[in-house]
Amino acid sequence: MVVALAVFLPLLGAFISVWLSRRKPRLSVIVSRLFLAGGLHSTIVLSIKLNAWSFSDLGNSIILRTGVGAPPLSINLEATGGAVIAAIVVYVAAILGISRLTSRNVKTLPLLLSLVTASLGLLFATDLFNSFVFLEIGSIITIGLTAACRCRRRWEVAVKVALVSGLVTILYLLAIVVIYKTTGELRFEALGMLHGFPALLVSGLMLTVIMTEIKAFPLSGWGLDFYEGASPGFAGVYSATWSLAVLMWSAGILPRLPIPNLQILAWIGAGGLVLGQFAGFRATSPGRMMGYSSAAYASILLILAGTTTGHDYLQLTLVLMIFAAIAKFTVFMLADPENENPLKSAAGNLLLLPILVIAGIPPLPVFWAKFKLLSILAGVSPLMLAAVVLGLFLEAVYLLRLWSKRPVRFLKNGRLVPAVTSLLMAAGAIWLTAGFWRSLSFSGSLLSSSTLRILFMTVFGAGTLLTLPGAWNRIKGERSYWFWMLLSGISLTFLPMAGNGITFYILWEVSAFAAVIAVSRGSRAAAGTFWFAVFAAASGFLLLASIVLSRSMFIAPGIPLILVAIAALFKLGQMGAHLWSVRAYSAAPATMSAFMAGTSSKAAVFLLVVAALGTGAVAMPAGSVLAWAGVLTALSMAVMAALSSDYKKVLAYASVSQMGYILIGLGLASVMGWTAAIYHTFHHFLFKMILFLGAAGVIFRTGTSDYNRLGGLIRRMPLTFTFTLISVIAFAGVPPLAGFGGKWFLYNGLIETGWLPIALIAMFASVVAFLYAFRLLHAVFLGQLSTVNARVKEAPLALLVPQGILTAALMLFSFRPTLFLEHIVPAIESLPGLKGVAPVINGTIVTTPLGNWNAWAVGMMVMGLFGFAFVFYWLSGKRPKHVGQLDIGFAGELPPSAEEVHYAGNFFKPYRRALAFLPRIHAGKVFSGITEVFKIAGDSVRAIFTGDARTYLAHSLIFLVIVLIYLRGGI
């Protein structure tokens, strides 16, 4: 009874509304909603009866018998747990989509309601011919609604859909003829009774039909056109109702196909995923991107069908398909129907959640399914795993591009839909995370040394807390981002507590994508966000692949380790990947940059530490590769920093450059190297935070980060200058302050190991650091104060206080580094597998086999000398007279204006000239080269979608022919 109500209530509603919609349009909408609500209620009752929400007994079912007698004579509708949940999604989508679809023409109501019935019928169908009827209903409604909805290219789409569904009809009927003729049956079970040539033919036909219907890659042309050309309102409803039903139905059919080796499905899927997503990479229209994404999901379905069985299969397909459907529905619903290119003007903020869901970012629901899928694939074939990971990555890339186009408009009254669907997705996330909770672990066992764990947690936690106050000082054009920063920071803080790979990965990704969102809310974020997101996704997928490959361990040696190392390099934004880091750091809201450069970049260090330990210390060749990567980054980024003239960009380059030293240290795989790395990690955190927070203050007050428009701010912002000066001296490595220690340990380690060339370049890079260090101080704080900035105030307290705290810490550890080292060195010494001798700490003296360093003595000496010089000067005569900033010896002339005298742009011109012999390699160009290759690949792939409807038909038929030939084992 309940099943019947669930399926047929909308139909009754449709029958009523066809009449009512002419008489009382408003009433008909209400009545339809009532019918849908009734149906929804029935499905919910069903789901509770079936205990479907546990996602564990999805095979349970309630059967509705129809007609007379029992199957095979009559037809049953079987409401399995999975189908019921999908049905709920269908209902929800329909209820939410009604107003959008009927806003122009209420006469579409009957079609929409019938579509729900058709979807549910298909979901519950057990009979081949019955499925055919429902499929036809769906096709007809699709054609009808496409043509009826207002969008420019509806006719083209309608014709294509009609042609394709016509072909599907023919092929499907042929299959039914063969099946019935051979078995005398029409239930799904009949597929299993086939043998020999008919089995082969039926498999071919059914596979073609299914792949065309679910829009799996080579046969997805019509689907792409549909999603691009149909009105977004209908496309959304379609994707969450009909498309979902077809996918779930196909999921039921695919494993029953009489193919001897079902794994071929997985290969078709994997190949389609990679190729299809290459093509999608090139898509420009948002609707088309969604089309490609739905092709990706179709491919995943094929992969699932080919590799999993039973419970896993049911669960994975269900989770993947329903959440993707909800997400896609949301995306389309957010589109603005008034606009010519509707998705481009979708509400950008709300767009992110569904896109992240589709891309499978943890802990959003789809992630769990993808994770499990990848774990299974790791056991099937690494090649397939690689293909799937690549495909998913490409999908994530273009989805993120869709989001980063930063559509700005908010829908006036369209907030209900995103609210509900977001709630659904969030609920799914919580529900599934709870389901997987037992697989998470917060024992912190990834990093055995509690000292290091506490160190990293301190860095992450303190970094978050100290940047947080600054997030309230936003400049014009920035939107509130503190929440995302906090989220990112919290997940980072828990990162060291992660006890296994999956926990680590989730925290990592949450942190990364929260950061992406925070960055995107900057005033000029468009430039930085996309690449940031891409690299975050890339490092995420690499990490995921390696976790999946190394199974129970966090990191296994070999390929997983390499993947992790690359992931960490991406995250660190090392040379090559600095594309994102520099862009994102300079584009992000200023405080966010501080957080990212100072704090969250340390997550990559943590990852490397953990990875190295997980495999018993970094092996030498890998270590030297790391070290070389680090040193080249350190040098090249330092040069870039010296030559660029944007405050934040310089800091960004600088921070990437400094990360290079950490890499070298880690690559050394010796106690000394690791001491250097950890020491530098901590101190880099201190001084980079100060620098970026200082920059935040400057930018907040002056509204610019261009060197040419700053200058002389020491007069207006003396405290900020003091903090910045101290941290600059620190990171330049000039002795009394802390930065020297890191370099000292590093060179000790390098000389000890004998890596002299690396040491040489590292030393050189550290001197190049002076260039940008001075330039930074000069261009922003020294030189001439421009008239524009003549009245700026000191930075707000929210920025100054954290800087003060950090500076105090920096000074403390500068003069008494042993306070820090006496905890760190034993911890590092106790780690397994590190070679070399540990530095000896004796009071304030640190001794290595090569030399010694007494920071306290040096600090006192500098203080004493400085004090002496100062006092001597003070006592030795009259005070000097302060003169105005333009009162300079200018060949007897008056300087024209402060701005013209302030020398900040094109600063190290001779350096640039001296470097001219080098070929100029821009990372941007390299990446656009890679992108170009991808684009060409994508173009050549997507060239098959010529737009001619008949080509799509030909695709299906050619595919059929190929499958038949393959199944027959040759011609």
Binding site: Q885, L886, D887, G889, G892, E893, L894
Partner: protein
């Protein structure tokens, strides 16, 4: 942007160091040469091994901040005067002016030019005039030794005079410089 205060009055109390100071000042004359006129050409030979002014401790200093002596070499046009005033005022005390050539004394051959100053002393306190059109390097060295002996004697106090009579000098300066766009004080 610019200084807007009068300089402190020089401390005239006699000190035990004064003699030593004056000796040092006399033997370490750092020169900013303002090549206003043709006389500048005669300064160059002073560097050479033939005349070698370094043996007197005289050195060229390209910035007025570090100089002691301002050499005004030749005629001074109204336009140039502005710059010279600024340069002079940017030199730190004690400072001296060495004026070369007849033009600085009475306008020389340009005495009737519409824009040449005839008597430099009205506008800036000259410590030593070196006569001639142009004076030979030997004459300049002679001028220097005169200046040195004046310094040693503690009598080279043109700078004090200038400061004490600033209003007089400004008045004269503003008389010839019609569009006075300098800051009032150029220290």
């Amino acid at each position: 942007m610019y200084c807007n205060k009068l300089p402190d009055k020089p401390d005239d109390r006699k000190k035990i160091w004064d003699k030593v100071d004056n000796m040092a000042r006399a033997n370490s004359l750092w020169v900013t040469a303002y090549g206003t006129g043709c006389g500048a050409i005669e300064l160059r030979p002073l560097h050479t091994s033939r005349f070698d002014m370094e043996r007197f401790g005289i050195a060229m200093r390209p910035t007025p901040r570090q100089a002691d002596v301002l050499i005004i070499s030749g005629y001074l046009a109204v336009k140039t005067l502005k710059r010279v005033i600024r340069v002079y005022e940017q030199i730190q005390d004690p400072k001296y002016i060495l004026a070369l050539g007849s033009c600085t004394i009475n306008g020389g051959m340009y005495y009737d030019s519409y824009n040449t100053l005839n008597i430099l002393d009205r506008y800036l306190p000259v410590d030593v005039y070196v006569n001639g059109c142009m004076p030979r390097p030997e004459a300049i060295i002679d001028g220097f030794s005169l200046l040195m002996s004046k310094i040693k004697a503690g009598k080279a106090d043109g700078w004090k005079h200038y400061m004490e009579n600033l209003e007089y000098y400004r008045e004269n300066q503003k008389k010839v410089i019609h569009n006075w766009d300098l800051p009032d004080y150029n220290w």
